[in-house]
Amino acid sequence: MLTIKDVHAGYGATPILFGVSLEVRAGEAVALLGRNGMGKTTLMKTVMGFLKPRRGTIELDGVDLTRRAPHEIARLGVGLVPENRRVFAGLSVRENLELGLSAAPDRSAALRSRRLDDVFHHFPRLRERIEQPGKTLSGGEQQMLAIARVMMAGARLILMDEPTQGLAPAFIRHIRDMISELKRLGVTVLLVEQNARVALAVCDRGYIMEKGSIVFEASSRELRESPVTREKLGV
């Protein structure tokens, strides 16, 4: 579904990614692991179109994404749950969710209420906070909102960047279950995590990134047992 080939990207004159290649097949959940500052977020931003790769290609079901604007990529079915959530602090939960609908094929009232029902089914807390501004939500609730936002869009591929960062165990469990649930619903997931244990519990496969390159790829079981994981991640 998502094919990244030899991608080089960075900020201004600073190169960060040096020829990253990875593949996520339809229906899979794939983990992208790596220590701090290795370029995981940079890769996510590049896939989403926030950064333009200097070299290499990114394809979604054969459609080239590299020259497209973020909103076009979103409308092709890619949803980003970004690092630090990036919920719109001044907008209500409802407004945040309705913005999520921007990438949906239509914005009919019927689709909106169906998607809202869906989201509230999975995150009842958001329904209770529907008129509250985003900034008044707890960290865990903001994370739910960030996930719910891309569910509103009906994203086929969800890029999640450290969704469990800074969350209490109960929230981490909820997020983990939600990723499994998304997978069950047929959504493809690329998950960046510091918490390798959580990531490997829900993902089929994983990649390890180091200094802007992929250095290891294996099934989740192998990754759990391999000494390479321990060496590269320090866990």
Binding site: A69, F88, E95, E98
Partner: protein
């Protein structure tokens, strides 16, 4: 009592009228500041172009009302064109580039107007004359109209930002334009339309105020200074704050002219600004982190 009715009350109303119109100007400035991270130095010139475009339309149609519709649309189109051709290539650069650019645009617009219309002072006749008895005095009808029109416009803008999807998009773009784009919103188009809207509002303010002021190429310079003060006082980027500050400055300006000459009024207004900023560094409703 006579002093109150004959002098203080009309001046108070003048201040309110001026403040409401100033609010229209400051609102556009605030929103653009939120989007670009810089003050739009050309905003005063869009205000000036509104008045001149109004004169042009009145010349053709002999109707102030036609001008009130056409001039803001024309200046809005100029705003959209300016955004697409000059500002858009700069968004990924430092805000300083935008600052220098809008400063240059202001000069181009001002000198362009001088070339086309000359440097003379001009007047626009109010669409209606006469006065209405009010609170024991009589007050010019056009100024009353101005007060009502500005208030209705401010209310409409508030409804736009809180009740419409387009308004929510602009607020979201102010907070995190990149994320908004990532959610599937064509953010460059939001920027263009917002710039056009802010230009149209400035033009509307310019034309509405023209019958009580004079029209000349530098008319925007004085106003933009006041509008900057309003935006700073309101708390950079706060829309509600801008409206409150506009009324405060409008009233201050109007009342102070009773007791001092224009130069001293300008000094007094800056003093008010400095004092308020010492007490409340973020202005009336400044958001945390806007200036840090």
């Amino acid at each position: 009592m006579d002093y109150v009715v004959a002098v203080l009350l009309p001046q108070l109303l003048h201040g309110l009228v001026f403040g409401a119109a100033l609010g229209l100007l400051a609102l556009g400035l605030t929103v653009i500041f939120g989007l670009l991270g810089v003050m739009n130095f050309a905003h005063g010139e869009l205000y000036m172009l509104g008045a001149y475009a109004g004169i042009a339309v009145i010349g053709m149609t002999h109707s102030f009302w036609a001008a009130l519709v056409v001039a803001p649309l024309a200046v809005g189109a100029i705003g959209a064109l300016t955004e697409v051709t000059t500002l858009r290539p700069l968004y990924r650069r430092e805000p300083l580039y935008g600052l220098i650019l809008t400063f240059g645009l202001a000069l181009v617009f001002r000198e362009g107007a001088r070339q086309i219309w000359g440097g003379d002072m001009r007047r626009i006749m109010p669409p209606f004359t006469g006065s209405t008895p009010l609170l024991g005095m009589t007050y010019p009808n056009y100024r009353l109209f101005l007060l009502v029109a500005s208030s209705v416009l401010l209310l409409a803008i508030w409804l736009f930002f809180t009740r419409t999807r387009a308004g929510v998009l602009v607020r979201a773009a102010v907070q995190d334009a990149e994320m908004l784009d990532g959610l599937g919103v064509n953010v460059p188009r939001v920027f263009t339309l917002t710039f056009a809207g802010s230009a149209a509002l400035a033009a509307l303010a310019g034309l509405l105020l023209a019958p009580i002021f004079t029209v000349y190429p530098q008319m925007g310079v004085e106003m933009i200074l006041l509008a900057f003060i309003v935006v700073i006082l309101g708390g950079m980027g706060s829309m509600g704050g801008s409206v409150v500050a506009a009324v405060v400055i409008g009233l201050a300006q109007s009342l102070l002219t009773l007791w001092m000459n224009p130069q001293r009024v300008a000094i007094a207004i800056f003093t008010i600004m400095i004092v308020i900023l010492i007490v409340r560094p973020r202005g009336f409703f400044g958001r945390e982190g806007v200036l840090e």
